[in-house]
């Protein structure tokens, strides 16, 4: 196999030229382009990394802020709930107090109204009853009844207990004016004399007596001197009965206040011995 040394030399030269041409037209531009692209990609990646880091930082900051906001909101909410509860309780308390006050006031008003009504009713009833009784007794009262009354009065004077007698005697003695004897009707002279006699006997003294007629006594006689009074009249009976009935009606109004009513007994007296 012959080797053509000219061809060898020519091919070697050709190869060297080819190396230079390829370097000039292929490798260099390609490597430059690749390097430029790699740099660009690296720059973009670095930029992306920086942006990512920044984004992460902002995200962390945002999350932190969010957590803070949540905490603040929860605090404010719980505070607001507490305040609302307190305010609600306060308002409820106020409302309860107002309601209780209103209720108490209403109860008081009702009680007063009931009391007034019962009083009015009682008074009216009493007045009616006594008006009827008075009218009946007035219609019945006659001179003979006055006589009888005078008798009863004189007997009373005689049967007076010693304490009352002493007090009345003292009053008669110290009185400057004459003792006043009032009756519903004009007393006849016999009865006036009987009364004088009874007084003189009872107090063993000459008692000055002045007689007067008083229609409001209905029926009966009374002796009044120096602030002391001895009386016997139907009006006194009625007055005593009226007091008992008024006491009974007053007790009847009290149960609304939770007080158990107590029975009121009407005094059972055959005659009224009254010293004012």
């Amino acid at each position: 196999m012959p080797i053509d040394w000219f061809t060898v030399g020519a091919q070697a030269l050709n190869f060297v030229i080819l190396v230079w041409l390829m370097k000039r037209f292929l490798y260099k531009p390609i490597l430059v382009a690749i390097d430029a692209r790699e740099k660009r990609i690296a720059a973009e990646l670095a930029d992306a990394d920086a942006k990512k880091a920044e984004a992460q930082k902002e995200r962390a900051e945002f999350q932190h802020k969010n957590a803070e906001f949540d905490q603040q909101r929860a605090t404010l909410l719980s505070q607001a709930i507490d305040e609302a509860k307190a305010e609600g309780q306060r308002l409820q308390g106020e409302a309860r107090e107002v309601a209780e006050a209103l209720s108490a006031k209403r109860k008081e008003t009702l009680r007063r109204e009931a009391h007034d009504l019962s009083l009015a009713l009682g008074r009216h009833t009493r007045e009616e009853v006594f008006a009827i009784v008075r009218k009946a007794l007035t219609d019945l009262a006659t001179t003979s009844l006055e006589e009888r009354m005078s008798d009863v009065f004189t007997r009373r004077l005689r049967e007076m207990n010693s304490q009352t007698k002493a007090r009345l005697g003292a009053a008669l003695k110290t009185a400057s004016d004459a003792a006043l004897v009032r009756s519903a009707f004009e007393l006849p002279s016999e009865q006036r004399a009987a009364i004088r006699t009874a007084l003189n006997e009872a107090f063993s003294a000459d008692v000055q007596v002045r007689f007067e007629t008083a229609s409001n006594l209905i029926g009966g006689i009374e002796l009044a001197t120096n602030g002391q009074k001895v009386a016997w009249s139907i009006d006194d009976y009625l007055g005593s009965l009226e007091k008992s009935v008024a006491a009974l009606v007053g007790a009847g109004a009290r149960p609304e206040q939770g007080v158990k009513p107590e029975p009121v007994s009407v005094p059972k007296r055959g005659a009224n011995e009254h010293i004012a």
């Binding site: 196999m1 000219f6 070697a12 190869f15 080819l18 037209f25 292929l26 490798y27 490597l31 690749i34």
Partner: protein
Amino acid sequence: MRLSPDEIIFWQYGFFKLNATIAFTWGLMLALVVGSKLITRKLSENLSRSRWQNLLEIVVTSIEKQIEEVGLRHPEKYLSFLGTLFLFVATASLCIVIPGYEPPTASLSTTVALALCVFVAVPLFGIEEQGVGGYLKSYVEPTFIMLPFNIISEISRTLALAVRLFGNMMSGAMIIGILLTITPFIFPVVMTMLGLLTGIVQAYIFSILAAVYIAAATRARKPKTKLAPNEA
């Protein structure tokens, strides 16, 4: 029968002649340079690029990666030489599909020329890397007695490089020529396809061996690295 395209002479003037080897080499050079120029004329530095640019980038980066894998630390420095070696031999082999084409690598003159280029380039790269003294010292390593063996090794491997490529390329072309005379149908096509494969393999082997030689020359004089404690 022709064994080498050197025998086809188009023009001769004394020592100077223009044979098929040189002519086809020029054709290949023209194709490579024009093709490269056309593709690199409008290179894109953006992320989007043309398919041809992609192809060239793949080829160039693959060669660069191979050089790096052999053990050369700065592949871009050796890329022009080793890449051109590979591209020239591969193109010369691939073009056998063109009718009437004679691969220049089937000429012993061409392969000897390429081997001589490697033979010259290896010490040049070695000296560039380590200096003249450093490179020459590699011939007396590990002892002075090894000097003749190293020189013989240097020459013989260059010769082997040349003959290996020549033998493979010449035999491929020869077999196809013989088969064409015996069975003109189908079988030569198969052999041609096989020839394409062996051509690429030979281009790869030639370039890789050149890279290994350069790597050996540039790394031989490096101070021996101390073993790490955990590797001792």
